[in-house]
C-alpha cells in the first residue's frame, strides 16, 4: 500500500532507485554465481582427474592369458638335467603345434611373441616343480605380451589402418584363431600386486614398491612417532616460556612448510654422503620421510594434549602424582586417539611423497622385492613415476592402476583416521 503510493509520488526517482536496486541485486547474484561456478570448477576438475585415471587404469586390473600346451620333445627337453633344457625350443614347438603353417626362422618367431618374453621362465618353473618325462605335455596359462593384451582389451583397435597399428593383419588373425579355440582368457590381474617390476608391462607388478613403501613407512613411524610425542609433550607440558622454546616452535612451523625436495637434498648430503648409508634403501627413505612427518605429528599431538581439560591434571597432582606420572598415566592415554589420528594422517602424506625419494635413488629399476630395510627398493609413488616415464603402451594403464592402488591405500589410511577420531575421541 505504502509502496504503491511511494512509487506514484516519486515515479522518476522510484524508477531510478528500482534500477539501482536491481543492479545491486544482480551484482549480488553474480557474486553468488561466481562462487558456485568456482566450486563446481574445482570439484569438476577433481572429478575429471579421478575419472581419467579410473578410465585409463581399470583395464590393467585384468590381464590376457593364453592357455598353451607345451610338448616336451627329446630335442629340447633334457630329461637328465631338466634345468639345462632349451626352453625357447619348447616354446617354439608349442607354437608350431598351434600354428602348423608357421615357418621356423620365418613367422614362427612372431608367433612366439604372442606370449610374454618371460614364458621360458614360467615353463621352466612349472617343469622343474613337477615330474615330467620326454613326450609329456605341460599345460600353462601364460600372460599374453603387451600388444596382444592391448588388442584383446580393445585399446589397439582393429579398424585402424594396418600401417598405423602395432600388430599387422596376419598377427591379428593369428590371435583371433587363438580366441576362437577358446585358449584366451582374461582373469583378474593378481600379478599387478604380487609381481615385482619388469621391463615387460604384462608381467610388471607393484609388489616391490608396496614392500618398499611399507618398510619406509615403518622406519618413518618408528622414528617420528616416539620423537614427535616426546617433543610435543615437552613443548606443551614442561617447557618454560623462553627464547629457546620460542625458537623451537617457530622452527617446527617452518619445517612443515619447507619444500619436500629440500629434505631430499638433506638426505643425499647427510645420510648418503656423510653417514654412508646405502643408496635406494627404504631405511634412508624412511629417515627422510620421518623428518617431514615430524612437524605434522608434533602439531597434532600438541593439539590433542591441549584438548585434555586441566581438571584432570589438577586432580592427579592433587592425589600426589608427580608431573611425569600425571602425563604418562592420565594425559597421554586420554590424548592418544587424537595423536594416532594425526600420526596416520602424517604417514599418509609420507606415503604419497615422491620428490625426496627420487634424490636418494629410490627410483631404481629393481626386479625383486626388498628383503629388508637395507636392500635397494622402490616405493609406490616412485614406481608410478618410473612407469609414467616408460614408453611401452601397456605401462600407461599400469601407471593409472598403480595410482589407483596408491589412492586406495591413502583412502584406507584416512578412513581409519576418521574412524578413530569419531569413535574414540572424547568431547569434554
Amino acid at each position: 500500500m505504502s509502496d504503491a503510493s511511494m512509487t506514484t509520488q516519486h515515479a522518476l526517482q522510484g524508477q531510478a532507485a528500482e534500477r539501482r536496486r536491481r543492479a545491486r541485486h544482480a551484482a549480488d547474484t553474480r557474486l553468488r554465481l561466481y562462487g558456485i561456478g568456482a566450486i563446481t570448477l574445482a570439484i569438476g576438475l577433481l572429478g575429471i582427474l579421478i575419472f581419467t585415471i579410473i578410465l585409463g587404469g581399470h583395464t590393467a586390473f585384468t590381464q590376457t592369458h593364453v592357455r598353451v600346451q607345451f610338448p616336451l620333445t627329446a630335442e629340447s627337453y633334457n630329461a637328465e638335467e631338466p634345468a639345462r633344457s632349451n626352453w625357447r625350443g619348447v616354446i617354439d614347438d608349442a607354437m608350431a603345434e598351434i600354428f602348423p603353417d608357421a615357418v621356423e626362422g620365418g613367422n614362427l618367431r612372431t608367433r612366439t611373441q604372442i606370449l610374454t618374453n618371460n614364458t621360458q621362465f614360467f615353463v621352466r618353473d612349472a617343469v622343474l616343480a613337477g615330474d615330467y618325462e620326454v613326450g609329456d605335455t605341460v599345460t600353462l596359462e601364460v600372460p599374453a605380451s603387451d600388444p596382444y593384451d592391448q588388442l584383446n582389451k580393445g585399446v589397439i583397435k582393429r579398424d585402424t589402418p594396418e600401417e598405423n597399428r602395432r600388430l599387422d593383419n596376419d598377427e591379428v588373425a593369428a590371435f583371433d584363431s587363438l580366441v576362437e579355440n577358446g585358449q584366451v582368457s582374461r582373469p583378474f590381474n593378481w600379478g599387478l600386486f604380487f609381481n615385482a617390476d619388469s621391463r615387460f608391462p604384462e608381467i610388471a607388478g607393484l609388489s616391490g614398491a608396496i614392500v618398499g613403501s611399507f618398510y619406509a613407512l615403518m622406519v618413518c613411524f618408528l622414528i617420528s612417532f616416539p620423537v614427535g610425542i616426546m617433543a610435543a609433550t615437552y613443548l606443551e607440558e614442561f617447557a618454560p616460556k623462553n627464547r629457546l622454546t620460542d625458537l623451537i616452535e617457530v622452527n617446527i612451523n617452518n619445517l612443515a612448510a619447507v619444500p619436500s625436495i629440500v629434505f631430499g637434498l638433506l638426505g643425499l648430503a647427510v645420510f648418503l654422503q656423510i653417514f654412508g648409508l646405502p643408496r635406494s634403501a627404504p631405511l634412508v627413505g624412511g629417515m627422510v620421510l620421518s623428518l617431514m612427518t615430524l612437524p605434522t605429528i608434533i602439531i597434532a599431538t600438541r593439539a590433542a594434549l591441549k584438548a585434555v581439560p586441566p581438571s584432570i591434571r589438577e586432580a592427579a597432582l592433587g592425589v600426589g602424582a608427580s608431573k611425569h606420572q600425571v602425563i604418562t598415566h592420565h594425559v597421554l592415554p586420554l590424548a592418544l586417539p587424537g595423536i594416532l589420528t594425526g600420526t596416520i594422517i602424517g604417514l599418509a602424506q609420507a606415503l604419497g611423497e615422491t620428490a625426496p625419494l627420487l634424490l636418494i635413488g629410490m627410483n631404481a629399476f629393481i626386479t625383486s622385492p626388498p628383503g629388508g630395510i637395507f636392500d635397494a627398493s622402490t616405493a609406490l609413488p616412485t614406481q608410478i613415476y618410473i612407469w609414467a616415464d616408460s614408453p611401452e603402451r601397456g605401462f600407461v594403464a599400469r601407471t593409472s592402476a598403480g595410482i589407483l592402488v596408491l589412492l586406495g591405500f591413502l583412502i584406507t589410511m584416512n578412513a581409519i583416521a576418521i574412524f578413530l577420531r569419531q569413535r574414540l575421541e572424547r568431547r569434554w
Binding site: 574445482a42 615437552y234 617452518n254 619444500p259 648430503a269 608434533i298
Partner: protein, 460 residues
C-alpha cells in the same frame, strides 16, 4: 649383526629392569614400606634405562663411523706401488671394486692387490662386528653393576628416572632445530664448494644455463654454463600461471563458503576440496602429462598456435588445481575471522551481501588472504613432481605460456638423478639451487605466517 645386537640390548634392559625391581621389592619388604622413596618399578626402570640407552647410543655411533674408519684404514694398507699417482676418483673406484669383490660378486680376474684388499676388508669387518658386540655387552654389564650398586631404600629412583626422560624429551624437541641446522649447513657447505668452481655472479646473473657437462672424461657433453636466471625465470612463470588459476577459483570458493553457503553445503564441500590437497603430486604430474598437456596442444593447434608438448601452461594449470584448497581454506578462515558485528552493521545499513563482502569483509580480511596467497606461492615454487613430469628441461626465457620452460626443482632432480660425483659443478649446482629455493620459500613462509598471526591477534 646390528639387528641381533639390538635384540641383545633389549633383552639386557629387560633383565636389568627385573634386577632393579626385585631390589626395590626387597627394600620394601625389609623396610615395611615406610622409608623407601620410590616404587620398585622405578628402581627397575632406572637401571633399565641406564643399561639400554648408553648401549644404543654406542651402537648408533659405531654404525655411523665404522665404515669410514675401516675405509681409511684399508686405503692406507693398500700397497703404495698400486695406488701411487691415482686421482681421488680412481681411488674411489679401487675401493668400490674391493667392496664388490668382498661382497662376493667377482667379475673376471681381479688384480692381486684387490683380492688381498677384499680379504682384509672381510676380516676387518668381522673383527669390527665382534668388537662392537663385545664393547656393548661390556658397557651394559658395567652400567648394570654401577647402577645396581647405587640402589638403596632412600635412593630417589623415580626422580632420577624422570630426569632421564626429561632429557630425552628435550633432545627430541631439539631434533626440529637440528633438522633445520642440518638443512642449512649441508646446503651451505655444498653451495660453497660450488661457488669455488663457478663464481657467484655468474650463477646469480648469468643468462645461460647448460649444466649437462661431462662427469667422466669419456662422456660427450656440453661445455657447461651455470647462469641460473632463466631457471628462476621459468619457476616464476609457472608459479604465476598456477596462482592465476588458483587465486580466483580459491577466492570465490572461500567467499561462497563463508557467506552464502548453508552449513550443510559447507560440511560436504570443504572435505571434498581438501581431497585436492591430499592427492599425491605424482598423480597430478601424470594427469598433466597424459590428459592436460595433449589437450592444450590440440587446442593450440586448432587455433593455429605453436604449442610445445610440455608447455608451461599444462604444468602451471595443473599445479593451480593442486593449490586451490590452500587458498580457499586460508581465505575462508580469514573471512570468517572478521567479527560478525562488522558484516551485521553493513547489512543493517541496507547493503547487499555482495556489497558487504567486497566493501567490508574483504578489506578487513585482506591481510589473512594475502598470507594465504603467499603460503600458496611458496608451495607452487617448491612443488616438484608436477613440473618434473610436465615441464621442460631446457632453460629458456620466454613469456609465452605455450612454450616450455624449466624450474628450479626440475633442475635439482635432473642434476641429481644418475651420476652424482660430489666434486663436479653439475652435482653441486643442484645444492646451490636448493639453497636459493630454501631461502626464498623460508622468507615467503615467515612473512606469510607473520601476517596471518598479526592479523589474527588484531581481532582477538
Amino acid at each position: 649383526m646390528a639387528g641381533y645386537l639390538i635384540l641383545t640390548i633389549i633383552a639386557f634392559s629387560l633383565i636389568a629392569f627385573w634386577i632393579g625391581r626385585s631390589a626395590g621389592n626387597k627394600f620394601v619388604a625389609d623396610a615395611q614400606g615406610t622409608t623407601v622413596h620410590s616404587l620398585p618399578g622405578y628402581h627397575g626402570a632406572f637401571v633399565a634405562v641406564w643399561v639400554g640407552l648408553p648401549a644404543l647410543v654406542l651402537l648408533l655411533l659405531w654404525l655411523v663411523f665404522q665404515d669410514n674408519v675401516i675405509d681409511s684404514l684399508l686405503l692406507s694398507s693398500l700397497p703404495q706401488s698400486e695406488i701411487a699417482g691415482l686421482t681421488p676418483a680412481q681411488l674411489n673406484l679401487v675401493m668400490t671394486e674391493i667392496k664388490t669383490v668382498a661382497s662376493g660378486t667377482i667379475f673376471g680376474e681381479p688384480a692381486p692387490h684387490i683380492m688381498q684388499g677384499a680379504e682384509t676388508l672381510t676380516r676387518w669387518r668381522g673383527i669390527a662386528g665382534w668388537a662392537m658386540v663385545a664393547t656393548s655387552v661390556c658397557l651394559m654389564l658395567l652400567m648394570l653393576f654401577f647402577t645396581r650398586s647405587r640402589l638403596s631404600a632412600r635412593f630417589r629412583a623415580r626422580n632420577q628416572f624422570e630426569a632421564v626422560i626429561s632429557g630425552l624429551m628435550i633432545f627430541c624437541s631439539v631434533a626440529a632445530i637440528l633438522t633445520t641446522i642440518g638443512i642449512i649447513v649441508s646446503l651451505l657447505y655444498e653451495s660453497y664448494a660450488f661457488f669455488q668452481l663457478v663464481p657467484p655472479h655468474e650463477f646469480f646473473f648469468g643468462l645461460n644455463w647448460e649444466p649437462q657437462i661431462a662427469i667422466r672424461e669419456d662422456q660427450v657433453a656440453g661445455a657447461g654454463a651455470f647462469g641460473a636466471v632463466p631457471v628462476f625465470y621459468g619457476t616464476l612463470v609457472i608459479a604465476t600461471l598456477a596462482m592465476a588459476v588458483a587465486t580466483p577459483i580459491g577466492l570465490f570458493t572461500a567467499i561462497y563458503l563463508a557467506e552464502y553457503a548453508s552449513e550443510r553445503f559447507r560440511n560436504i564441500v570443504k572435505p571434498i576440496l581438501e581431497i585436492l590437497a591430499g592427492v599425491p603430486t605424482v598423480v597430478y604430474g601424470f594427469f598433466a602429462v597424459l590428459t592436460v598437456a595433449p589437450a592444450i596442444r590440440e587446442a593450440g593447434t586448432l587455433m593455429g598456435l605453436a604449442t610445445s608438448p610440455n608447455s608451461a601452461l599444462a604444468a602451471g594449470g595443473v599445479m593451480g588445481i593442486m593449490i586451490i584448497p590452500f587458498i580457499s581454506s586460508l581465505s575462508d578462515d580469514a573471512i570468517r575471522a572478521v567479527p560478525r558485528s562488522m558484516s551485521d552493521g553493513s547489512l543493517a545499513m541496507g547493503a547487499t551481501r555482495a556489497e558487504t563482502i567486497t566493501r567490508v569483509l574483504l578489506p578487513a580480511a585482506l591481510p589473512g588472504i594475502m598470507g594465504g596467497i603467499l603460503l600458496a606461492l611458496s608451495r607452487a615454487i617448491g612443488e616438484t613432481m608436477i613440473v618434473v613430469m610436465a615441464a621442460g628441461l631446457i632453460a629458456t626465457m620466454t613469456i609465452n605460456p605455450l612454450d616450455s620452460v624449466t624450474t628450479v626443482t626440475v633442475q635439482i632432480v635432473t642434476l641429481l638423478i644418475g651420476d652424482t660425483a660430489f666434486d663436479s659443478p653439475k652435482t653441486l649446482a643442484a645444492f646451490a639451487l636448493g639453497l636459493v629455493l630454501f631461502f626464498v620459500t623460508l622468507c615467503l613462509n615467515v612473512v606469510a605466517l607473520r601476517i596471518v598471526q598479526k592479523y589474527r591477534e588484531q581481532y582477538e
